[in-house]
Symmetry: C2
């Protein structure tokens, strides 16, 4: 038997979408690493009856382990501990040692914000230290303690109560796993393997077809849980399986390699961003198909961009990873034509003759970035993000991109990207990243 888990996210601001939930996805990954299957996530507001219903639902679905996030603050609308205690049939009791521990944490805060209401703080402290009898306390990272609350009669789920802020929840969870506070609840978890293939430049239906071919060719798909999804213009194929199904996975991966070799760019889940970073550092990325993964090292190559429609997003993406200053020189965001001429050195007559959105101008931008920022590789992007500015000949979504380096011909492409302004801008950065990757692999 494997362990089935459920997540209950509480908070009206999450339910109504004003804050997006970062805890559910993070916990899903952690559960997976522990071999626990996440079956359901429920998001409820701050109403106790809705939270009770969610717990009842989890119990009815025979969930073994419920994780809750949120509702542990010092104010009256933070009700999780009390609701969970009631659900598990446990009385609420004041834990005096915990009360003192929280008071200790609050002392420096009182100094930093001297005008805070001391009575309110004491009240909140007492509330946060009142917990279901028999629960295990997970030491606070902020001011809120977490709780492991087992069922009173051994029937039904164990409930792990965690705080809402990710920066509190994450270290608390990690510590609870390490120090064994969850070991009873995690007994019986099967360890699954998970592998990810990434492809760029084909429609999702082609992968569906490959899965049908795999079935016809006798690949044991029933032992694999395959999900495909489209994300930022790339296709991710994630396969989860018990260790005994390794051969079936290898057969599937070979088929994908044989049918989609030209669009498969990652076999180890590495992103194009990580591969571009490795290539700029002079390393061959281990996850790229055909890589022998020896990590042979060449010289670092530097990069610079000149962007119009992406407005700085490509530069922001190239500097997202720590340590990017080793290879990223800078970017010229040339939104106006004057800026394209003055800063990136695009000839004004080229813009006049070809239009600002053209392969020629993309190449001139790439050249300008490379020269002006003294980089080995230059990237140029120009396009029409919309919603205005499109014409019949050059519609919204048309983006021209170019990558130039000292070695070889420039790589220049025009693409027509679907979606609204934000989609076009985001997709254009993905296309640029793949062109950079291709150009670096070739040289």
């Amino acid at each position: 038997v494997s362990v089935r888990a459920g997540i209950v996210v509480t908070g009206t601001e999450v339910l109504t979408g004003r804050v997006s939930d970062r805890n559910g996805p993070w916990l899903a990954d952690r559960l997976h690493e522990l071999g626990v299957e996440l079956a359901l996530t429920v998001i409820v507001g701050d109403r106790p009856q809705d939270m009770r219903s969610a717990l009842r639902f989890m119990a009815d679905e025979r969930i073994d382990l419920v994780l809750t996030s949120g509702g542990l603050g010092p104010t009256a609308d933070d009700l999780t501990a009390e609701v969970v205690g009631g659900f598990q049939g446990r009385e609420m009791v004041l834990d005096e040692q915990l009360q003192e521990q929280i008071a200790e944490i609050l002392r420096p805060l009182a100094k930093r914000w001297p005008n805070l209401d001391q009575e309110a703080i004491r009240h909140g402290n007492r509330k946060q230290a009142t917990i279901p009898a028999g629960a295990t306390v997970l030491a606070p990272v902020g001011t809120a303690p977490g709780l492991v609350v087992p069922p009173r009669d051994g029937e039904g789920p164990t409930i792990v109560v965690l705080p809402g802020p990710p920066r509190e929840l994450q270290p608390m969870w990690t510590r609870a796993v390490e120090d064994g506070a969850l070991s009873e609840a995690l007994k019986g978890a099967i360890s699954y393997r998970q592998r990810m293939l990434r492809l760029f430049g084909i429609p999702e239906s082609e992968i569906a077809e490959t899965l049908r071919v795999a079935e016809r060719e006798g690949v044991e798909l029933s032992s694999l849980e395959v999900t495909t999804c489209l994300k930022r213009g790339e296709i991710e194929v994630v396969t989860r399986y018990e260790p005994s199904a390794e051969q079936a996975y290898e057969a599937l991966a070979s088929l994908v390699r044989a049918r989609h070799g030209d669009t498969l760019f990652s076999e180890d889940g590495s992103s194009v961003d990580e591969q571009v970073a490795a290539l700029l550092r002079g390393r061959r990325p281990a996850g790229a198909p055909g890589s022998d993964g020896d990590g042979a090292s060449g010289p670092t190559r530097s990069i610079a961009t000149a962007e119009s429609c992406t407005g700085g997003l490509l530069a922001a993406r190239l500097t997202e990873l720590a340590g990017s200053s080793e290879y990223f020189k800078g970017s010229i965001v040339a939104y106006s034509n004057e800026a394209k001429v003055a800063l990136a050195g695009v000839p004004a007559r080229l813009i006049e003759a070809q239009g600002a959105v053209s392969g020629e101008v993309a190449e001139a931008l790439a050249d300008g970035a490379r020269t002006r920022l003294d980089a080995d590789v230059g990237v140029g992007v120009t396009g029409i993000a919309g919603p205005g500015g499109g014409t019949e000949e050059k519609p919204v979504g048309l983006v021209c991109l170019s990558v130039v380096s000292g070695a070889g011909e420039p790589l220049t492409r025009s693409v027509h990207l679907p979606g609204g302004r934000a989609d076009v801008r985001d997709r254009a950065t993905t296309v640029a990243m793949h062109m950079i990757r291709r150009s670096l692999l070739a040289s």
Copy 2:
């Protein structure tokens, strides 16, 4: 009686966190506008039994209206229509008119990807056109039709089946509301009002204290549903109430204005991005406190940035809104010191004397952006995003920002921002936006 709604999001990739759900939050907002209360959201994987359980849970909770997203694709693992049909006790039937409509949509795709398997396409087409008997079809935006599936015997929820991709779901929902396909299901919705106050530069606990003061001063808080949340470094106070509670809301808003006048920047929910855009267009933003909302128009002012640690994110943020080319000239992303000198004209000796992260260099960057990009307003940002590069004197999270314009003194600030690399970069753009706003309001 009001209408209670629930959302069922399907998709293993959403449940496991590989794709974040954008539909739930968007639908929550739309439901709210229609006066429908969202009580619960459930996220399940692609397993039919889990989806059935989620629908059963919604029915048990006396939900009147269930919206599902996802699982409408052409492949066998897309099971939503069938599961919903079964749940509502309705047979699945092939809708031939719909089949032809989808075939029509697919024809141009076959031209674009000529190697696609035609048999697979026909198979998917037939599957997507097979729907519960008696359901109302919502015309496809992509290839998947939506469905409104009422309960067969009048008892239990109406289920609205929507596609997963936001770009399909959103126009489909809007059209369904407009053309009355949902009017039966929405009967009896109470219209609530919702107002948002936005503040920048105080801790959330101060708002909690103001709510306690409001209670003591006799503001009728029980008629207001107030939620506060911290988002990208700003505090949002959202209040939802029935029209009869308008006076109570006004009393609360006055109290916030009186106690937090210096940090309250928006009374109509407008974002700092929208206010900066209005100010650059020469208009006084209607939502800014003290604005008479007459929209008096001055000349457009142009803006340019020179960024280091934000790596283009500030430029990307300033160009997020459509029409930003009217006032945004461009940006110099000067990641290396050479680029700061060569492109933004920062004196090399200034970097040597003060360090690249200093108020002086931020001001020189702002000046350089303004001069080199021929803009009215220049913004400079330099800082240490981490995780490396911090020192005792200049720790990770230190960011120096400056806004210069022809009128008045430069506005220069150093802040110490919490969190990891991504947080510091994002927060720094928020601080910059507020400084730009302040500088534009003053001049």
